[in-house]
């Protein structure tokens, strides 16, 4: 067998292995994204559908140059964008604060307990998302578990407004995304070389100084990885606000859904989605830059 036919055969094998994914993702992933990008620059038709002309005002409606033919600029969309950013960031911060101490405690446990705790944390990830949100509806609603309990204890006479608030949305997001934050954070906590902590104390740093200068920087890759994994699905989330926010708190996800299923302004919806994607891409870009600079393995991509 000559070297040429060996190479040719290898090429054939490679083509056989890569062919399906290339075709599939090419048609059903990349093409739809390109079409969506194009859509975001098309004019909306009067009764749904699109008009094939260049129309930058979809983005203009959000960013401040609305189509003068139809409307004045209304900052409401930009506010929703900022609001979504704020909610997503708050979710990141809360999940981090919730997971960080627990990661340290679990990392100290004996091996068997450690495995068991990790199992317990991973398990909800496999449980249905909608069911986990449904649970909180039952707990938070007007006639829900908390209100029933508090009223039967005589602590309150009127039910509290727990559901359909921003707080309820945050609670739902945190509850769902805890495993996303915990696992990367835990991975970097477990990797900590504790002689470094001893070295820091040996060199005169007290507990707090050691935390800020050694422990926190050492766990930073895990924190950033977890933050990205929580931020991305939080930003464009529409299920949690739909279920726990009612109509009162609007996030980008709900706005996009409205454009597609109610208002039938697809180009505007596509523009909003592009905005979400742009925010995510900027974040990922920053993360990759940090990762290559620190030279550490990025837990996100492992």
């Amino acid at each position: 067998m000559s070297a040429l036919t060996l190479r040719a055969r290898q090429r054939l094998q490679l083509a056989g292995l890569l062919g399906p994914v290339t075709v599939f993702l090419g048609i059903f992933f990349l093409t739809p994204l390109v079409i969506m990008l194009i859509y975001s620059f098309l004019a909306p038709g009067l009764y749904g559908g699109v008009v094939w002309e260049f129309y930058p005002h979809n983005f203009g409606r959000i960013l401040g140059f609305a189509d003068p033919a139809f409307e004045y600029f209304d900052p409401v969309y930009f506010q929703i964008f900022l609001n979504s950013l704020r909610i997503a960031l708050t979710t990141v911060v809360i999940t981090l604060l919730v997971c960080y101490p627990a990661a340290f405690q679990i990392a100290r446990l004996p091996e068997r307990w450690k495995t068991f705790c990790l199992f317990l944390i991973t398990l909800p990830f496999f449980a249905s998302l909608i069911v986990r949100l449904f649970i909180w509806v039952l707990i938070l609603k007007q006639t829900g578990f908390i209100n029933q309990t508090l009223m039967s204890l005589g602590l309150i006479s009127e039910p509290l407004d727990l559901i359909y608030t921003e707080g309820a949305i945050l609670l739902g997001l945190v509850y769902i995304f805890i495993p996303f934050m915990f696992l990367p954070v835990y991975a970097s906590v477990e990797k900590i070389d504790w002689t470094l902590v001893r070295a820091s104390q040996d060199l005169g740093a007290n507990g707090i100084q050691t935390f800020w200068r050694v422990i926190l920087p050492l766990t930073l890759p895990g924190i950033l990885g977890g933050s990205i994994l929580v931020f991305i699905p939080s930003l464009g989330n529409f299920v949690v606000p739909a279920v726990l926010g009612g109509a009162k708190v609007l996030m980008l996800g709900n706005l996009i859904e409205q454009q597609f299923l109610a208002a039938r302004n697809w180009p505007f919806g596509a523009a909003l989605a592009m905005l979400v994607m742009a925010a995510v891409l900027v974040l990922l870009f920053l993360y990759v830059r940090f990762e290559s600079k620190s030279g550490d393995d990025a837990p996100l991509l492992n």
């Binding site: 994914v21 059903f28 093409t31 627990a102 679990i106 449904f134 029933q148 596509a270």
Partner: protein, 276 residues
């Protein structure tokens, strides 16, 4: 100093207990209240009953006739059937394509390898709403009818990535010299692949398939946009009920779903730990 450390230890332990309570207490509450007989207010305990479980399995009995809230058992069963069909097809397709891609990237060096790596991560990191509407625009644009078929395609776009990552992780942990050893012992390429590589990759493939199945069964957002009017999956069915108002039966359905996914996940994790 030592009492301070003890205090720190105790509070950290307490905190961790609370952490797990936050995750599992809500689940415990819903499990308990799924046996609550109150037909109007699900969260006001008025007695123990199996009625809601009987109803979702179609054995409605006399005592709960007044509370026949569930739209129809048929609808629920149809949703379950749809979900299982979608998950079965998606898992098969995604596992085959994802594994093939992982093998290609592991075994060969070729131009564009980096591109493929990035491509495989992209659908996972893409916010699902973006993928959902992009697919909706695409399907409507090319005139493809929305339904089971479009849902299967939609799920595959991101589940290929999940399978790819699980299988790649398995491949990365593999000892490449074993392949050389096999070749050295006289096995040809195909025999080496079948007898050495495949048995080692298999746990990764099974793990990836299991993951794909669970996620496909659970997906809501992408399905929501590309399911069309006539087709409902289980998560969509529950989402719909949540939006219209909750009936006690949902409680029982939710508990059954939790039980199902916990069992599958626990089995998967158990087998993975055994295989090591």
């Amino acid at each position: 100093m030592s009492w301070l450390r003890k205090l720190g230890d105790t509070s950290l332990t307490t905190y961790t207990v609370l952490f797990f309570a936050f995750i599992y207490l809500p689940i415990a509450i819903i499990v308990i209240y799924s046996f609550n007989s109150d037909p109007v207010n699900m969260m006001r305990w008025s007695g123990f009953t199996f009625d809601w479980y009987k109803q979702i399995f179609g054995f409605s009995n006399a005592s709960s006739e007044a509370a026949l809230y569930i739209e129809s058992t048929e609808q629920l069963l149809a949703a379950i059937r749809n979900s299982l069909t979608v998950a079965a097809f998606t898992t098969t397709i995604a596992t085959v394509i994802g594994t093939a891609t992982a093998l290609a990237i592991y075994r060969y060096n070729f131009f564009g390898k980096r591109f493929y790596r990035t491509l495989m991560f992209a659908p996972m990191l893409m916010p699902d709403i973006v993928l959902g509407i992009a697919l909706l625009i695409f399907f409507v644009g090319v005139g493809m009818p929305l339904g089971i078929g479009s849902i299967i395609i939609g799920h595959c776009t991101f589940l290929i990535s999940y399978v790819f990552i699980v299988v790649s992780a398995r491949l990365a942990g593999m000892d490449r010299t074993l392949e050389n050893a096999s070749a050295d012992l006289g096995a040809n390429e195909w025999t080496t692949f079948r007898r050495v590589v495949l048995p080692q990759v298999m746990p990764g493939v099974i793990g990836g398939a299991l993951l794909a199945f669970i996620i496909s069964m659970d997906d809501l957002v992408i399905t929501y946009f590309i399911s069309g009017v006539g087709t409902q999956t289980l998560p969509l069915f529950i989402f719909g009920m949540l939006r219209r108002g909750i009936k006690p039966e949902v409680n029982a359905i939710a508990v059954m779903m939790l039980l199902f996914s916990f069992t599958v996940a626990a089995l998967g994790l158990y087998f993975r730990s055994r295989r090591r």
